[in-house]
């Protein structure tokens, strides 16, 4: 067991495979018993330099259920940040008021920088298009929970694989677990070659598809993401491909019984509502798992687990 006390979590590569598993094990304990006052002498600061209600509430719920007091802001309007205070000065000040900083900021690399300035640990809650490691950890937790293991799975990644930050992080993380990747996307939104190289470097296989129907029978996990119209310079092109990455209940015939569908949410139309009542839908539980994983991370980093 490594000691995670005092560690920062900025990028998915900051923790080792064993350290992820350690956090997932702790999260399981909190899923059984989420309300424990083990952080009642701690103050957690949540600094959201751009609004993200879903992520912020998940962190704040996690902290509150462990008895921590939560301070911070949900968007920088009206704070000294808006008056032009540097990130350096904001982080220095907040460090003196808190035991742990959770930060979301649209500037890429801002969380890494904050962790170098802060005298307390920093958890990255999203730095622009760069990293969002707690989303990745809750994805891992959901995969392990639904499959009983992280090893030797067939994972289908569907939708915008080019810009989808969660897809890149999850792919990197799953490279530790002998995964076979099935990549489904329009031509324009294929997984970047740098991420494909990580798969190859790990000695693993990936297959590429343009139609979601082709992976339904193989996948243990179908990880859906949204294809945004804005990503296409030509609107006609979007119209042509938009249905190839939409999942409907009738398509699920012939899928493996253990198959589960994940989605980082919010969804728009890429999973039709009739899928929600099938036994394969897992995306709402997945979001709930985020609270347990964030509880586990905070407890480990603050040295009470």
């Amino acid at each position: 067991m490594s000691n995670l006390k005092g560690r920062n979590l900025i990028s998915i590569t900051d923790f080792s495979r064993d350290e992820y598993i350690q956090v997932l094990d702790i999260a399981e304990e909190f899923e059984k018993n989420p309300k424990q006052p083990i952080l009642s002498d701690k103050v957690v600061a949540t600094l959201f330099f751009e609004p993200s209600t879903r992520t912020r509430l998940s962190f704040e719920s996690a902290a509150s259920q462990l008895g921590a007091r939560v301070i911070g802001f949900s968007d920088p309007g009206g704070t000294s940040v808006q008056k032009g205070e540097s990130l350096h000065d904001t982080i220095t000040m907040v460090s003196s008021y808190s035991d742990l900083i959770v930060m979301r900021n649209p500037k890429e690399g801002s969380s890494r920088y904050a962790s170098e300035v802060a005298s307390v640990p920093v958890i990255n809650a999203g730095d622009g298009a760069n990293q969002h490691p707690t989303q990745c950890m809750l994805d891992l937790y959901s995969i392990r929970k639904t499959q009983g293991t992280l090893d030797n799975l067939n994972i289908a990644m569907v939708g915008d694989l080019k810009y989808g930050r969660t897809v890149h992080s999850l792919t990197q993380a799953m490279c530790n677990f002998n995964t076979t990747f099935h990549l489904v996307s329009p031509e324009e939104l294929k997984l970047p070659s740098s991420v494909k190289i990580s798969i190859k470097d790990a000695g693993l296989k990936y297959y590429q598809y343009t139609d979601l129907k082709d992976v339904i029978g193989t996948a243990d996990i179908i990880y859906m993401t949204r294809v945004q119209r804005e990503r296409f310079p030509d609107p006609l092109e979007y119209e042509r491909v938009k249905d190839s990455c939409i999942l409907t209940a009738s398509m699920l015939e012939g899928c493996k019984p253990n198959m589960r569908i994940l989605h980082p949410l919010p969804r728009v139309n890429e999973i039709t509502v009739d899928v929600d009542s099938t036994p394969y839908a897992y995306y709402f539980q997945q979001a709930q798992n985020g609270v347990y994983v964030r509880q586990a991370l905070m407890a480990a980093i603050l040295g009470v687990r």
Partner: protein, 156 residues
Amino acid sequence: MDNKKELVVPAIPNGTVIDHIPTAVVYRVISILGLDRYEDEVLIGNYLTSKKYGRKGIVKVKNKYFTAEQLSAIALLAPTATVIAIKDYEVVSKAAVQVPDHVDDLIRCVNPMCITNHEKIPTRFDVVDKDNLKLRCHYCEKYTEKDAIHFVEHKN
């Protein structure tokens, strides 16, 4: 052979000779080293014939020796360059420039959304490919490649 070259660009008694600079970057090397503001003799030769490289540039700077950081900058601009230190007309050291493992506070990150382009933070890069000059930003994790290298303003 060397004697003939000295006729083209005269020898200096003390200082540094930067040889084998690609012709296209000679004036950028001068600028990045601050030699355009240097108040002593600077001898510049460009498009000189080189056995090894066809055409090359050479810069001789009287009474000046460069720091490791400045040599890194030369390496990023002109990986083929040789740096020769001269004392009393004698060569006291001669070495090819080396692309360093890390490049700190020297070049800008190519990513407009990178925190280093928005706050006064020294940039930090890991050199991931020395042959093709590919650098990874320590902060935003994006790659800056050879053709996108721009030096930070205060180094100019």
